[in-house]
Symmetry: C2
């Protein structure tokens, strides 16, 4: 294992120290680990918070800033943060307008955010948790019941973050976040594995000419292993799985603020259809160069054009990664005018910035 790290026990702390030094507009807490806007809490504004295992940078800490997240809670590498981190982060950013937790669907993350939501609720903080489960590759996986949460998270954090900045209240932000998740689908591929520092060896093994289609962002098994094929064939496989995905129904467990208890909601994602406007994300798993992502994008754009799916905005680069894994993922999120307006709104974070 060769990495630019110091002691294994500090692989989460050390980058946080770097972020603190590089970004004075953020405030970094080391005990417990979280990152918040230095100007939080913002009076009257819903606080949008996410978090999850480290190793997926810039997600989530790189998306803290004006127009996106108020706070992010990094766990150990590929490990859920703890409820006390989320609770402390929520307290640090709550202005009274409430806290919205955006939660990728991994069992540890879901349970920890539920505990944190209850703790905040008992402090009198309005709180809501929204699930992201957009990975069409597999249903039920290592660490996950149902679909995994991946690239749609980035789009959700941008759109809902902008809505909160614009004055949406907690229910409006939660409704919008649910819509983004219902409109978003993703799938990825790995050409190589990655090495968790504390493990010291690759998370899984792939042969010299093998790839794994439908990989998870922690290296969880996907749909199949097969010989590496061309970029165009890979883009076609991923895009077709996403675009042909049928309506997907799942039951989500959300906090009912009035009743002070958990309720089950059934949500169904409508499939993509000709005429849809979408935001397209072609994402690096970490170790894949930009030139290869644009090669994938070229084919994706052609496939979408052939199906009359209009890519109205795009993002190409490393946004939700798996350490140094080589590979990529594609995310498509259907957008309406409300969502597109918030996508285009100004944002200033370490990893996503425009308009300011």
């Amino acid at each position: 294992m060769k990495k630019l790290i110091n002691a294994i026990e500090n692989v989460v702390r050390d980058p946080l120290m770097g972020m603190a030094a590089a970004h004075p507009e953020l405030k970094v807490s080391i005990d417990p680990h979280y990152i918040v806007r230095a100007d939080a809490p913002i009076p009257g504004k819903v606080a949008v918070v996410s978090g999850g295992g480290s190793g997926h940078e810039p997600l989530h800490g790189g998306f803290v800033g004006v127009g996106m997240l108020d706070g992010a809670c990094p766990g150990e590498v590929f490990t859920s943060p703890t409820p006390d981190q989320m609770y402390a982060c929520g307290q640090a950013v709550n202005s009274g307008a409430g806290v919205l937790f955006l939660v990728k669907n991994y069992t540890g993350d879901v349970l920890s955010f539920e505990t944190a939501a209850e703790l905040l609720h008992f402090d009198g903080v309005p709180v809501q948790n929204i699930l992201v489960d957009d990975d069409v590759a597999v249903k039920d996986s290592l660490y996950t019941a149902g679909r995994r949460g991946v690239g749609t998270t980035v789009i959700m954090e941008k759109i809902v973050g902008a809505a909160a900045e614009a004055g949406y209240d907690l229910d409006q932000c939660a409704d919008l976040a649910r819509k983004v998740n219902q409109y978003g689908r993703s799938m990825g591929v790995a050409l190589t594995s990655c090495t968790v520092p504390a493990a010291g060896k690759p998370s899984f093994e792939l042969g010299d000419d093998e790839m794994e289609i439908g990989i998870g962002i922690h290296g969880e098994p996907g749909q199949k292993r097969m010989p590496v094929v061309s970029a165009d064939e890979i883009a076609t496989m991923l895009a077709n799985e996403i675009l042909d995905d049928p309506p997907y129904t799942r039951t989500v467990h959300e906090w009912d603020r009035q009743a002070g208890e958990w309720v089950d909601r059934e949500l169904t994602d409508a499939p993509f259809a000709a005429g849809d406007d979408v935001i397209a994300l072609v994402n690096s798993m970490g170790g894949t160069p930009l030139s290869e992502l644009y090669t994938i994008y070229a084919k994706l754009a052609q496939i979408c054009q052939d199906r009359q799916i209009n890519i109205v905005r795009n993002l190409v680069g490393p946004y939700i990664t798996s350490l140094e894994m080589q590979g990529c993922s594609i995310t498509l999120v259907k957008v309406d005018d409300e969502m597109l307006g918030f996508w285009d709104a100004s944002v200033r974070t370490p990893a996503l910035r425009w308009g300011m």
Copy 2:
């Protein structure tokens, strides 16, 4: 070799097709290969153009746009573009106010840009070529007489691009570019090699616990190979080489527009000194995750603070890469008010964007 590519002969063309699809504000020429602003030529504006071998993305094509480059010429992977590319690109962006070529110091690039400058001159286009040679690791290298051109190129393209946007004439832009180069120093490290698609095997070999200090962006040999040490030790080695670098004098070969001939100029870089304001770039060689870059940044910030070097702006991420190579480089550029103003000016390119 596992990569997201199609035919080997199209590894430069295919990403260009993706850029064309993703960025309608750019215009991509496939024969010969170049990328220009779709709104070029801009009346009255000096056109800033760079180029070099592919494999370093987002450099240079990702920096074409408002407030930065007017055009970029990508060669084959790790291979200089040809004079006809540069000539065609220069013609496409010239408004009459002239063309400034920013040239990384590799023998092939230097000679090709010189030929292109002469061709444009004989067409009556005012043209100037400025060298970037900022790598303190070694003097004379594979592909290079003198110091190699690396990370300072990114800073130069931003600052000089903003100056051209603001109305600087060709001589003013050239003077500013020379100053950025004289104020900038860089050095890098590789933990792994990279594989040029046409070669199909790693450019060089590093042992399982080895790193190469002072690596070039094409894998050219650096100062030494040694066992991998901690991120703090690596950051310290790179930062000290940069900050302790003595005055460096070289002779540059520049076009004299009035005389229509080449002249030699002797230029000396002053060393860094306590009290300097600098822009710091911590750059990924391509395959190194953001968390590791921030680990390096944390130590760099501490070293600079201890030496009373003030990091007034920073950039952390993959900006001048070497395919999927793991490793990083540090660039420090001393800045004055003129340079800082242009750094902060609005920019909108695929890879660098703020203020718009």
